[in-house]
Subunit: 253 residues, 4 copies
């Protein structure tokens, strides 16, 4: 049993700080770096790459919609062509910036509404996969377990990693419960840890809308970094997993 | 006698079109593609790379200040560190996008106020050179002939190309006359052609503020594309140069 | 029989020009000024207000989504609260700027995707009406004839103007055919003029998807300004209407 | 003896929070609300106006350069015309939004680099004063004591308030020491309180670059809110002033 723990990072912008990247980096094994469209600016990105490299983490690009004010969380009616181009641009920027720092870009994980829309929409998913494959076909595409994005990676000849969320509620159909629903985001570290273990060891998680378990098979678990107490939660989850004999290490580890 | 003719391109943004890239591409030999900060968006950039590749042109990145409204033409009090990071980001994006299209990124030319400030300020010039060198030390840094940028390229071990402007007036000290001065921008194609020839064949150009000639040695001449009649002007300049026996071809040609 | 002819204007941004406002202003009676979120910047807005005032036109605000790159045409998953706030901000800016120029702000017409979403979504429509009413309850809310926005204006105690589009195809249910459908945008001035007359005199227009007429009752017709030939089209439509005895004048006229 | 204590507020943006406005509002008497160009978005602005109104504070607009990433702190080479238009737009937005909330906009204080440039440059100062006067000639223009902005207000027939900074070092010529100089920003609450008292009671403050006192006459003192411990510092300064018999109240009080 093994799992990668990933977190979104580099989500500050100019004078605005968000998240405690340095603290979180002690507990996760992979990091998704915001690329400047929904968060991050060139200086933040560079600083984040250096911090992640120093912590020995696996570094990925985290492209999102061009919507700073909405933090990339507002669904937008973009065409597959627009998505292909905006993912290409952002991942290309990260690819060059990691090389300039002497480290390797290992994966790509779409952010926010782009992630959610691509999970359900094969045309968007395939636009993302095309953009990534045109840059480097060894890049791992990270997407919601069982979603269109995982399928699109396979179709494009890209490796993929199936992601699950121990701190987000699932609906019975295997999708994530929208954030505005009561109970959609789980803050109690012990519950999150228990759910993480359920996903990795038992391959299922209790759904929000029914009493039934939803089957989930995941290569990587997301630890959200933009909430107070995120580092402590990451510590709790990692300790629970390792206490149960799960090896926590990046895909390449 | 030889010279490269370069033009800035990909300066449209979303619904807003600017310049007639396709027409200009018949007359120039190199193209500087806006990178999304002062102009250009991911879809415009990709389209421009494809158009330039189809025309067999030498393709470069044209990074600028993050100032869409001012088109990157307003000087900004940025630190060398900020400049290094924003050039790194933009050039990295173009480097990946050209590779994804199967073509090579050959050069980098800063845009607008970044170009002018770097011509005079060794710390900014050296920040730009550092960013470019960290991505690929074969990239040619294009800067104002005789300026700090050319010196910074040499210091960073980068090849450089000295640029002159046949359609912009020079001051006696060899700097470009600011755009707001009367006579700073020359629109008459025949005069521009004559000045181009003067620069390439005789290595000097008449100054705006005195009656004297300013010495200029240039590897490349800029043809501005954001004015009406730009393609016709480019045609006139090229014909005049070739008529006088100057070979017009890209650096690599 | 009377009708107002309105056009969107002030859609330039920084160095990017869009539309020939001065030419169009000879033929229309009302103008909707972009407010800086999807197009327009403070200098463009001010220039447009002055131009419209000099032409004696009725001036309105044209608020849109914060999406320069998509020109406000991409639907976004914004909450009613966000919409209320962003409309309030943009209309407030125009209200002050018109007063500073000594003219009156007469109406508000949402732009692009905001207009379309508000036509169908009562919660968004009512958020827009609330924002407008909180600024000045004499402002006329302009919306698609028969849509939620007209209803929301009535509920908020605001006057409204029902709008129809002579150059856009309608579906049988009275909605506008999406722009990407073949035949959705009509460019032939004579056909547009005939449809304009059909709407104002006969209160119906032929639908795109069936052979039947769609009933339409409109106070104002939109003349799109962002296409080549827009002024000529406006002239043709106005001549056809006046030739048939329709008085073309602004609501207050 | 009396003085107004003002603070900048509403400097959050989208998902990014900055400053603890609610806590600060217990100690200050006036608030300058960011207008969306360097910080603030329509929802943040509205929330801040409501919070300030509930606290009974005097509310002003705090317009800045269009530079989110630089937080409006990077000097830009803008023309007086551009400055006039961008101040007009931002103050107009705040004017409408305060009215919509049933409160009055009382003053305007430029932000960051716009404030500093206008302190020294009569043409920029006068562009700002013109924009404000064209909206409402009762608006108080707040500027650095003794600066061009105070003079421009007088020339434009606007009331003004002279501002001093107890937590910023002054140079011998009466200007603020640039932030990057060691000692330019003072964090110790007791020192700040002592300097505040020196400015209000004794009308001078010790300069950074010489041993001499700089004469300062101020109507209002700025309490910076974007640093940790700002509310505590505000409490200390206010207690020290009131303890020395200075009445702390807004201009209108």
């Amino acid at each position: 049993m093994r799992v990668d723990l990933n977190t979104d990072a580099g989500e500050s912008f100019g004078a605005w700080a968000l998240g405690d990247d340095a603290a979180l980096f002690s507990y996760v094994t992979s990091v998704n770096v915001a690329c400047g469209f929904h968060a991050g600016d060139p200086s933040v990105i560079r600083r984040t790459i250096r911090l992640a490299a120093a912590a020995g983490l696996c570094i990925g690009a985290h492209p999102g919609y061009p919507d700073l004010q909405g933090f990339g969380r507002r669904a937008m009616a973009v065409t597959p062509r627009e998505v292909e181009d905006l993912v290409l641009y952002q991942v290309a920027a990260l690819l060059g910036m990691t090389r300039a720092e002497g480290v390797r870009l290992a994966h790509v994980k779409p952010h926010g509404a782009l992630y959610s829309q691509a999970a359900r929409d094969p045309a968007l998913a395939s636009a993302i996969a095309r953009a990534v494959a045109s840059l480097d076909s060894r890049l791992v595409l990270v997407g919601l377990a069982g979603s269109s994005l995982i399928q699109a990676a396979a179709d494009a000849g890209l490796p993929s990693a199936a992601e699950a969320f121990a701190d987000r509620a699932y609906l019975a159909d295997g999708s994530l419960a929208p954030r505005h629903l009561p109970g959609a985001v789980i803050h109690d570290g012990n519950i999150v840890a228990r759910r993480a273990l359920g996903i990795i060891r038992d391959h299922h998680v209790r759904s929000l809308d029914t009493d039934r378990d939803v089957p989930v098979r995941a290569d990587t678990l997301c630890i959200h970094g933009d909430t107070p107490g995120a580092p402590e939660l990451a510590r709790t989850v990692r300790a629970a997993l390792e206490g149960a004999g799960v090896r926590v290490l990046a895909r390449e580890g």
